[in-house]
Symmetry: C2
Subunit: 350 residues, 2 copies
């Protein structure tokens, strides 16, 4: 670590869920990828974009995609920013909108990337515990003068939701910058996008990875007042989004029919998965996302995770104390769910 | 700028060359894009990758691409890192391998992104002037204890080269981290890649934007000792490179024939362009890249830039004093060069 700076040396690495090389030999329910492929319209648009224009830089301001998302959501393009996945957006927030003298706050348990990014950027942070049933307690973010609060809504890995009324009421009292990570929003709606008009201290982020089945393309969006969007545009790498990702995301936004179909299938499968898991004796945390957090009285979470992995089924296990009794399972195809349930019943009987 | 932090507020934005929306109405010789399309093998590989696998996250470690580049260059995969364009690599260097108490040094004139990134990250920096003919003076980087030196080789926007012997001799004396930006290397060779084995304080970066005609895909590489590569992997966003960019870059690396053909055509065109510009009375700085820096006794650079823009030909004009007498022209297709020369001769006669 001879040339590593102190932040790099002293920070905790974020470890994403396993992405095995021989992925096709697994039922992969560990990173909340959408089980259905991108729509035909999206794949066609991508293929058509594989042409000689790739010799040219992409639009550094992603104008078409920003305009399309704005038009679809009653916003202006100046309120929309495009990032290389919402990961890049979070990184830019910690680099551009808070400094070392200030303190951030994140829910616990939640997406631990926020903590990692704070450490990478030398930002102090505190955590605000979720309630007994993993419900949000927004008052916890008011107990100190936090300069930044980041909440995932629905939360990850719990799937629980903070209602828009509660967010609005919180924003009436909070003076720092509130980031709402809506990576899983589209599965059940109830977005904070509309609040951006009224609150200049709000950033709402979106992702094409989950609801649009485009995790492989890396597209995230941030919606905020134009002053914040200008800051993002100033600090980002000049050409942060490649031409194909821009083309794919644009086609995905325009394919409302394909999108709605995907979401409806996902909801059906989730309902089925929840029922089957409950029938096996699992406690299922009510989720508004494309995954469920579950635990079982008979088997420890780590044991379940390991036994499933032996059967070539990947789910997510967390060492973090608040959720170490649980495993998180992404909603799969019907066939994947049936195999999961079958293997789980064998494991539970053993 | 209510929520902008002090670094964001007080830094100078990097402004890339114009990317007009109606790009096809221009002869675009302002951002050093390769005038030839990506090879058929690359476009085919990309189209074949537009499939349902895009619902899945890409390989967070880009193992295939790193191995392929390593094998091709007598390195190990552990010596190679893949970034979302070399821009991301530079950003990571300033975030992970230098801190606010240290000082960096960059040549002047050179790629001003280095200066911008230092500012964004609160890093002090000084500049080391190139010589009268824009030749490198590496001793200038030894006059103080710089913790980081970044040089572009060939340099941008001058096209001038620092020989490998000089770099090796410099590395024998320099105790900081040396970054050699080889974005334009492949047009004429003479790489510092091999020095990475012997020096743990060297990072060599490469780009697929220029020599591989893939500016639209955003792929850059960093080559360094494994300890530095581990640092890059720790600090980067989990999934920084999308599946299509990975597939395109891998196909490009494997298509040696297409690559060699492209480079040969580019060299031919550059030679022709230089001859024609000299015939028009331009002073041409000897360049080892896919662009030339030129000036003319009869017309000011800004006037040339503006007159060409009126004729729908974009070249690069810099306000920076050391090069404000010059325009930088990317090597185009034969037809583009002929049109450029024709229009320049009209402008010069006016």
């Amino acid at each position: 670590m001879k040339f590593w700076n102190s932040k790099l040396k002293n920070s905790t690495e974020y470890i994403p869920g396993e992405q095995p090389g021989d992925v096709d030999t697994y039922i992969k329910l560990n990173t909340n990828e959408n089980p259905f492929p991108p729509s035909k319209a999206v794949l066609d648009a991508l293929r058509n974009s594989c042409n000689e224009s790739l010799r040219r830089y992409p639009d550094p301001e992603a104008k078409d995609l920003r305009s399309a998302f704005a038009a679809k959501n009653g916003l202006k393009a100046e309120n929309v920013f495009v990032g290389n996945g919402s990961d890049e957006i979070f990184s830019l927030i910690f680099r551009g909108f808070i400094e070392g003298t200030q303190t951030a706050a994140f829910p616990y348990p939640s997406y631990s990337l926020y903590n990692t990014l704070a450490e990478f950027n030398g930002i102090k942070y505190e955590t605000v515990n979720l309630g007994k049933n993993f419900e949000y307690n927004m008052d916890g973010f008011l107990k100190k003068k936090y300069s930044l609060a980041v909440i995932a809504n629905p939360n990850n890995p719990t799937g629980t939701l903070c209602g828009i009324k509660d967010i609005k009421s919180f924003l009436g009292k909070f003076k720092g910058l509130l980031v709402i990570d809506e990576a899983y929003n589209e599965f059940y709606g109830d977005t904070a996008l509309d609040l951006v008009e009224d609150f200049d201290n709000l950033i709402v982020t979106r992702s094409f990875s989950k609801s649009y089945s485009l995790a492989g393309l890396r597209i995230g969006l941030a919606v905020a007042c134009s002053d914040i969007i200008k800051g993002f545009l100033k600090i980002k790498d000049s050409y942060n989004i490649d031409r194909l990702a821009l083309a794919g995301a644009l086609a995905a936004l325009n394919d409302t029919k394909g999108f709605n179909y995907n979401i409806q299938m996902l909801r059906n499968n989730k309902e089925y998965m929840e029922e089957m898991l409950q029938a096996l004796g699992f406690t299922v945390v009510p989720s508004r996302a494309n995954f469920v957090l579950v635990k079982h009285g008979k088997k420890k979470a780590l044991e379940l995770y390991e036994s499933l992995k032996e059967k070539k089924i990947l789910v997510r296990y967390f060492t973090s104390p608040a959720v170490s009794d649980y495993i998180r399972i992404s909603v799969g195809t019907m066939m994947e769910i049936k195999t999961l349930v079958k293997e789980l019943s064998v494991i539970l009987e053993a």
